[in-house]
């Protein structure tokens, strides 16, 4: 099960934080801080994309200056989640038409919506890019 999904930039600013387990606010901030330190401190060429984190695992991937991290159980398939991150980024890229950090900054609420279509209750709910994008278009139609 995915415990949380974090999107942070190199400086540690949180661009998105979604928790699938109940946590206190203080605990969340601490987690964000710790995960940021963990992923930034790793050597990009000589490291795996996985790190032990407390009693769980953090799977992370870096895109330009942004770190996408997912925390999951130790029994989960690391590679599947690594690719799930990439799939999420592909969806973002498609939706925002070649995404950049500013898109995410100014449309953070959209990013939450997209994530909600992708991961629900800590499980990957939809793995077809096409289905997710169709659904997002449907949601966008409400606002216009």
């Amino acid at each position: 099960m995915i415990r949380f999904v974090l999107l942070q930039n190199r400086a540690g600013k949180t661009r998105l934080a979604k928790y699938y387990i109940p946590l206190e606010d203080d605990e969340k901030h601490k987690l964000e801080y710790e995960v940021h330190r963990l992923v930034v401190g790793r050597n990009p060429t000589q490291s795996t994309n996985f790190a032990e984190f407390r009693t769980h695992k953090v799977i992370y991937r870096k895109y330009a200056g942004l770190f996408f991290s997912m925390c999951c159980d130790v029994t989960d398939n690391e590679f599947a989640l690594l690719e799930a991150i990439h799939l999420f980024v592909e969806v973002l890229d498609h939706y925002f038409q070649s995404v950049c950090e500013l898109d995410l900054v100014f449309n953070f609420h959209k990013v939450y919506l997209i994530l909600d279509e992708f991961v629900l209750a800590g499980e990957l709910q939809e793995t077809s890019k096409k289905v997710i994008l169709e659904r997002l278009r449907e949601l966008d139609r409400i606002e216009t």
């Binding site: 490291s47 795996t48 709910q125």
Partner: protein
């Protein structure tokens, strides 16, 4: 580029985000945020908001929270917004509540009604938004009112709704896994099986998550799903799903992985299932691509499945080839990591695999990356054998030195102590290793491990004691020794310090030891707990050797006697009073008595008959006789406590209250009065009103009724968009006829009997058990009789506690070489071992036999476990009083010595009451430990520092609980 989307935000928020983005410092950011939060509060207070501004406001609140500021003042606005008529507001509000709240929040209760309405909406967008929120926020209280509607949505025409409904049901199941609470009566099993046959792949995929959880709970009941799952898996990798599910040219990899995970759980320990899966798993491996990460992910999952299910030579061979492929990768750390992980799975079944990849293993062990190193250590741990334990433990401990993470340290400490306990070549090594580990990672070691060590030392002969003293004295020289190590040191020196003078490398007189301990106590960071240990050590040293306290120690004891800690005070005062009675002292604390057996005296002690006189006295003095809880219950003094009653009373009801019955104009007294009050014209309207309300209330209950009447469910054919798949899948639904399930289950059970110890379901919890099974199934092991500690000439003095047997190391001239021979010049790595391993599967076959004779297996097996438990209880009681005669003396001593902190004896307590037992035995336990906290209240008192050394803290609480019932 980003400009395209900025118009979607309110100007205000856009400005804020820009300002925050331009901030140079955290304080500046905080200032801007603070101002903005204040403005928002003002707007909220004002309350004048239109639709658009509510939306902007909510998004702004999400932004505040995301940046770590408190926006709880706006939470209620979000909850309110969920009930809004405007679709946009509703969607944003739902998004906001998922961000703001979690399932424990009280505001959830306010959402329940909104959910109930929205789940019935015609607009599927609203239904979806509600379901998304439910998945995140629902708690056990809220399930009840919404579950009928969610169940209904499983057959909604829109697939996205069905998918989310399945996810929501899955969430419900996680909250109430046994269907005892709000889910009672809901046939989740049936719902999920129906969803599995859904024609939409995403619904099916969502359902796999749910099924996986259910299968983990009750595997045999779902084995009849295997054919359906296999056929789905086949269709998936044969590209029968729509193109949309392809990811980097791999067909629906995430679905494949989920299916493989489920198959692993279903096939674990079940040979027929494994047979069924063989061809499909082989095809997955064959089709799998080594070109990209997602291909690796599928292959890795497949290897994991193969190593989890009942071992199959053909599959294992294919898996080994795949692993070799991972490990050959020169470039990617990720792949090496995966290789190590997969290897860790396979060595359990076939230890030879690791030898083939020894170069890779050693390389990963030296790698820069911590995660990889850790995974490799895990692999080493899994392949530990008596002949390589020293090397492995060495590696683990040297990693401990460099590791900073507390959780990882704890984990490694557990592993080290487990390996050391199981494979220790001799006790000297065991003690040395453990002290070393305590020294390196003292802060991360669980107290339990220290107590294990003390117990082990206590069970050994004098020569071991002596070497323990030598090791401990050395450990004392380290100025930065962690607390837990010092505790062990103090205990050992107290208990066996008398042996110090015979040490080969320069004797130590008791005075020397006392001085060293005293200087330890002088140090600043000597905790209260440690001081207690030191005081006990003084006492025991004095009692066993007959020497008086050194002046330094004397001084410390005096200080402790007036300490503000009652525990220390008591220890010190006892010490002082015993000091004046040398005979009593040596009787109470005989040398090396921490392991004595008190079996014989237990019955008398347990009846507490020694308290009879005391009780009599109290009764005569006018105290009320004791009434046991049972008697009280009989007499009606107390009521039986039932937790469920209380719960029922508290839970909220979501159904509308029954409409008050309008009094019918029948000839009853109340009707008459009503008629009189309201007048005749009102009575005339009553029947119609009544009819209206009853219709309304019937409407309220409609959902429930609907659910019940929906018996004629249409089981959709399990087909995908591609028509070619139809014939295959259509065969699947009948697979789950209840009757068939029954038959299948019994068959499976039969099969399991023979193989159970070998293949447990793959969860991390029983990873070690599996390791044990593999270990004992190893040809080297099975051919060699297991030698217990006794056979190794290290017989424990008591047979009370069957410990994991430490096996002597096999004669291994080059231990490193045995583990992994790195030397290029060396001809072949461990040829002997390889020869013995030449047919791993023959060895596997032999494992069943071995599993049958459970005596040789470590204590995790059932038989060992059961024998161990009662003995532990006995040992506990046995350990408390030293002997009956000692008891007499100590009872004499107590009052004479004028201990100010006498036992807190309840005035009237009959014999069956445990408190006096604990207190009094605590007292006689050698007055070394006569603390009010002796019952486990103060952890220090229950530590093995005092006489009762073989009782670990963790063992101590349970028996009392048991006694107290």
């Amino acid at each position: 580029m980003a400009g395209r989307f900025r118009t979607r935000l309110g100007d205000d928020l856009e400005r804020l985000i820009r300002a925050i983005g331009d901030c140079k410092s955290k304080s500046e950011e905080d200032r801007i945020m603070g101002r903005s939060i204040d403005q928002t509060k003002a707007i909220l207070k004002d309350g004048k908001m239109d639709k658009a501004s509510v939306k902007d406001l909510l998004i702004k609140l999400i932004y505040f929270e995301m940046l770590g500021h408190d926006a709880s003042f706006g939470h209620f606005l979000a909850v309110q917004g969920c009930g809004s008529n405007s679709l946009v507001t509703k969607m944003v509000s739902y998004l906001a509540v998922t961000q703001f709240l979690d399932s424990s929040n009280t505001l959830i209760l306010l959402l329940v009604n909104t959910w109930r309405t929205d789940l019935q909406s015609d607009n599927h967008l609203i239904v979806c938004a509600a379901l998304t929120t439910i998945c995140k926020l629902v708690n056990t209280d809220a399930i009840g009112p919404i579950v009928p509607q969610v169940v209904k949505l499983i057959s909604h025409p829109k697939e996205v709704v069905r998918k989310k409904a399945v996810m929501a049901l899955h969430r419900f199941f996680q909250l109430d896994p046994k269907s005892e609470g709000p889910l009672a009566g809901v046939d989740l099993d049936r719902q999920f099986r129906q969803a599995l046959c859904d024609k939409d792949p995403s619904v099916m995929a969502a359902c796999l998550c749910a099924l996986h959880d259910m299968i983990k709970m009750n595997t045999p009941a779902f084995r009849n799903l295997i054919p359906s799952l296999i056929s789905i898996l086949k269709q998936v990798f044969e590209h029968r799903l729509s193109k949309g599910y392809e990811y980097h040219h791999v067909p629906a990899p995430f679905i494949q992985i989920k299916l493989l995970k489920i198959l692993a759980d279903l096939g674990a320990g079940d040979r027929p299932s494994t047979e069924n899966m063989r061809s499909v798993l082989l095809s997955v491996l064959k089709q799998g691509s080594m070109k990209n990460t997602i291909g690796h992910a599928v292959l890795y999952e497949c290897v994991r499945t193969i190593t989890t299910i009942s071992p199959d030579p053909q599959l294992l061979e294919a898996a080994a080839r795949t692993i070799a492929g991972f490990l050959k990768s020169e470039s990617s750390h990720n792949l090496k990591y995966m290789g190590m992980a997969a290897l860790g799975g396979i060595v359990r079944i076939n230890p030879r695999q690791a030898q083939e990849h020894q170069a890779a293993v050693m390389e990963c062990l030296e790698d820069f990356d911590d995660t990889l190193k850790l995974k490799t250590l895990e692999l080493l741990y899994k392949m530990t054998k008596p002949n390589n334990v020293e090397v492995v433990v060495d590696k683990l401990i040297s990693y401990l030195e460099t590791c900073a993470d507390q959780h990882i340290k704890q984990d490694i400490c557990r592993r080290v102590s487990e390996l050391a306990e199981r494979y220790a070549p001799d006790n000297q090594w065991y003690i040395e290793t453990m002290t070393l580990m305590f020294g390196v990672a003292g802060d991360a070691v669980e107290p339990k491990l220290a107590h294990n060590l003390m117990r082990l030392i206590a069970e050994q002969e004098t020569d071991v004691h002596q070497s323990a003293v030598a090791i401990c004295t050395k450990a004392l020289e380290n100025p930065k020794a962690p607390e837990i190590l010092l505790q062990v040191v103090c205990w050992v020196l107290g208990e066996y310090g008398a042996l110090g003078k015979h040490l080969p490398e320069g004797g130590l007189s008791p005075d020397d030891i006392m001085d060293r301990l005293a200087s330890l106590m002088h140090s600043q960071d000597c905790t209260e707990m440690l001081q207690g240990y030191i005081l006990s050590a003084f006492l025991k040293l004095g009692a066993q050797t007959g020497v008086a306290l050194t002046p330094d120690a004397e001084e410390l004891v005096r200080k402790a006697a007036s300490s503000k800690s009652t525990e220390l005070q008591q220890r010190a005062l006892e010490l002082q009073s015993l000091q004046s009675m040398p005979q009593v002292k040596s009787a109470v604390l005989p040398a090396d008595a921490s392991c004595e057996d008190f079996e014989d005296e237990m019955p008398t002690l347990r009846s507490l008959s020694f308290l009879n006189a005391y009780v009599q006295d109290a009764l005569q003095a006018g105290a009320a006789p004791y009434i046991s809880p049972e008697q009280q219950l009989e007499m009606g003094v107390i009521r039986p406590t039932s937790s469920t009653d209380a719960l029922d009373a508290v839970t909220l009801r979501y159904e509308a209250y029954q409409t008050a019955k309008a009094p019918t104009p029948t000839p009853s007294a109340s009707a008459n009065t009503w008629g009189q009050d309201a007048g005749a014209d009102l009575t005339g309207t009553a029947p119609t009103l009544l009819a209206g309300t009853s219709a309304a209330s019937a409407g309220d209950y409609e959902p429930a009724l609907n659910v019940k009447s929906r018996g004629t469910r249409r089981w959709g054919p399990a087909e995908y968009a591609t028509p070619s798949s139809t014939p295959e899948v259509e065969a699947t639904p009948p697979a789950y006829q209840p009757v068939e399930v029954q038959g299948l289950v019994t068959d499976i059970d039969d099969f399991q009997l023979g193989e159970a110890p070998l293949h447990e379901p793959d969860t991390y919890k029983n990873e070690r058990d599996k390791f044990q099974a593999t270990l004992f199934g190893d040809p080297q092991q099975s051919s060699r009789p297991t030698r217990s500690r006794a056979q190794a000439g290290l017989q424990p003095k008591t047979t009370q506690r069957p410990r994991p047997q430490a096996k002597p190391a096999m004669a291994a001239p080059d231990v490193m070489g045995d583990l992994l021979d790195l030397d290029v010049g060396a001809p072949q790595p461990a040829p002997a071992a390889a020869a013995q391993n030449s047919d791993p599967f023959a060895a596997l076959d032999g494992m069943d036999l071995l599993g049958g004779s459970a005596t040789a297996t470590p204590p995790s097996t059932a038989s060992a476990g059961t024998t161990q438990l009662p003995i532990d209880l006995n040992a506990l009681y046995g350990a408390q009083p030293s002997s009956a005669s000692m008891f007499d003396s100590s009872v004499g001593v107590g009052p004479q010595g004028g201990m100010p902190m006498g036992m807190p004896m309840p005035v009237v307590m009959p014999m069956a009451q445990p408190q006096p037992a604990g207190a009094s035995t605590g007292g006689l336990q050698g007055l070394g430990l006569a603390m009010p906290g002796g019952l486990g209240g103060v952890p220090m008192a229950s530590g093995p520092a005092a006489g009762a050394s073989k009782v670990g803290i963790q063992k101590k609480e349970d028996p009392f609980k048991d006694l107290l019932g």
